[in-house]
Amino acid sequence: MTINSIFLMMLTGLQLGAIYALIALGLTLIFGTLGVVNFAHGALYLIAAYFAVFLAGSVGFGWAILLVPIILFLIGLALERGLIQFFYSRPHTDQILVTFGVAIVVEEALKWMFGANNIPFALPSWGAGQVLFYGAGAVVPDAIPGIRIPMPFLEGFSFFPAWRLLLIIVTAVTILAIFALLQFTRFGLVVRAGMRDAEIVRFLGVNISARFSIVFGIGALIAGIAGVFGGPITQVSPTVGMALLVPSFLVVVIGGMGSMIGALIAALMLGMALSFTTGFAAAIGDPTMKTVLTALQQIVVYLVAVVVLLIRPRGLFGTKGVFE
């Protein structure tokens, strides 16, 4: 295994983790503040991807990046006020059932409207192409287009899709922005206080319910960002929401319900686990080991979850007693 292939596997792991992190971030934010297990979060991603593909096709990708998160924020608010708020005081199982129901309705409605087949979602012209990484002393032919980044430890040069690197950057910026919002603003202070003890904050005369509605909207907005930037990768069809929800939910559970830093680390763990087991399965010569690794590659996400939860039932950064 060369240094180049390890480098590519790391980038792949980061990028796989990035999309899980974006979706899990919204999930864990909503659980951490509202205490709601939102199984409709995959459906929000789905709605975002459909809006994105149609907006990108009609008014351009730039507008899609701007509009889709706003639309999703509004959908999130409407969903919280119209449905979710009636389930705050009910058990988690009821919340899971109702949000899961919403997810099925959204999926089937989109299938009814646009068919079950995939809607092609092409990358915008400015986001297509490869980024070239080159090592010390590498001779890169001038004919190769695109951005070039020096990586002294590489042998020769390597490519990675520009859009996937952008996804990693967008994820990092989004996570930092949410962190800053919660840590350094007055809104964040109130929300964090509400997470600690909503009752007391209410007694102090703060309308914490309104703040929590906005938090739900922000969770949906993050799903919107994930839909715009993830859509061209996962493509747009009614089943994609559910396909992403399961690993993203695992990320939240492994990280600890409601913990943002936990979700981030868990997403990275899963991304790297997927990337490296596949990479090793492909690289290994011994047929028995290859069979084992090939099988492992398909279940590695669940295996990580099992190991983490056996050792630490509340998840990596979970609060004691919550979903333990």
Binding site: T2, N4, S5, L8, M9, L11, T12, G13, Q15, L16, I19, E108, K111, G115, A116, N117, N118, I119, P120, A122, L123, A128, G129, Q130, F159, P161, W163, R164, P232, I233, T234, Q235, S237, T239, V240, A243, L244, L274, S275, T278, G279, A281, A282, A283, T294, Q297, Q298
Partner: protein, 457 residues
Amino acid sequence: MKITEKGISRRGILRAGAAGSIALAAPMHFIRNAWAQKAIGNFPARTEGSTVKFGFIVPQTGAYADEGADELRAYQLAVKHLNEGGGMLETIKPLSLKGNGVLGKKIEYVSGDTQTNPDAARQAAQRAIERDGVIMFSGGSSSAVAVAQQYLAQEKGVIFMDALTHSNDTTGKDRRRYGFRHFFNAYMSGIALGPIIAERYGKDRRAYHLTADYTWGHTQYESIKEATEKQGWTTVNNIMTPLGATDFSQFLTAAINSDADVLILNHYGKDMINSLTQAVQFGMRDMQKNGKQIEVVVPLYSELMAQGAGDNIEGVLGTANFNEKLDDPGSQVFIKAFMEEHGRPPSQAAHTAYVQTLLYANAVEQSGTFYPPEVIKALEGLEVDGIGPGTALYRAEDHQCFHDILVVEGKAPSARQDEYDLLEIVKHVPREEVTYPEDLPAFGGPEADLGPYEPTA
């Protein structure tokens, strides 16, 4: 005075004639009775009224719902043509059908949802058989479903006409007396595709396979591997990918890290759309390895997949069972009728569904009974014209239908005339070339057995 004193009376002639015809018919009648002694499945109970029912169990939800919807459109058309005439009833030879139903009974149908899931499919089929009393059922998209349905068919004594299933196992190790497949299979794809890709891309190529991890993917990988290695290619590696993955980047990175210069995607439906689209995003079609352009091959193509993958299909080769640009009389009448009824050209899923329904009905009409063992015997070894290009043969030994198949290539966006004009026919591969011995190891070897004509259950 007697009217008929001498000579032969009119009544007498009639009487003698009637007796004579009964005497002549008697042996046939007895054979019929001998066959019909045993009730099998829904025969004879559900064939005694003025109508009989067919069951069409297709994916209405799940990943293959669009294929299912197109199959259902074709089944509706087939029922219409059976009851009212038209369509391939004008081209099928030999034809017993009269366009007045089957054996004079009008055809009705019920539909069910497979959910692209073998368990759900089995339940839906069981409901159609037990509650609705269907005399034949058809449908499916996914070989896992088809195999499950064939076992159910054998167990219940109700004939199953496979629709979209491409795994070797369906007419290989899992072949069943009560199951028939008109669609081609992975092995035939390999025979058809091997020479063409070797001619286009050269004999010295190194292939990297990504394979959907279930019965169809496994058999397709084996078949394409064998066919390409016969052309002198080397198989560098194969990775099994989980069905329904949204992101294939870890698999594509592994392929890029290898020294392979051809990527073969043993994927279908959404898996194929995603893996192909992402391979293009990874720049694989602009890359070079070993001094050669990297090529991507999709052994099993469909119109719906081509639609979903958009511009990424340009120049990608694969095989198909049918194409809406075929110009033989059978394909033409079907395409025309389908366009008139539904306003869009039929997919290969629709074609195979339609043909299967008519072939079953024709076999019933020909044998003069719905009794399953007789219908099966009418289909076994059947040679038929007018259902597509060339003469098709339903081989008795494994219930695989052999006919001409197509090698197709994705069209460039600029070369398309309308939204359905996506695939170009590169070659008709004649039936003789894709025919193989039924006892090949890839098809279960000599032990593979269809099972009895009369279910023991």
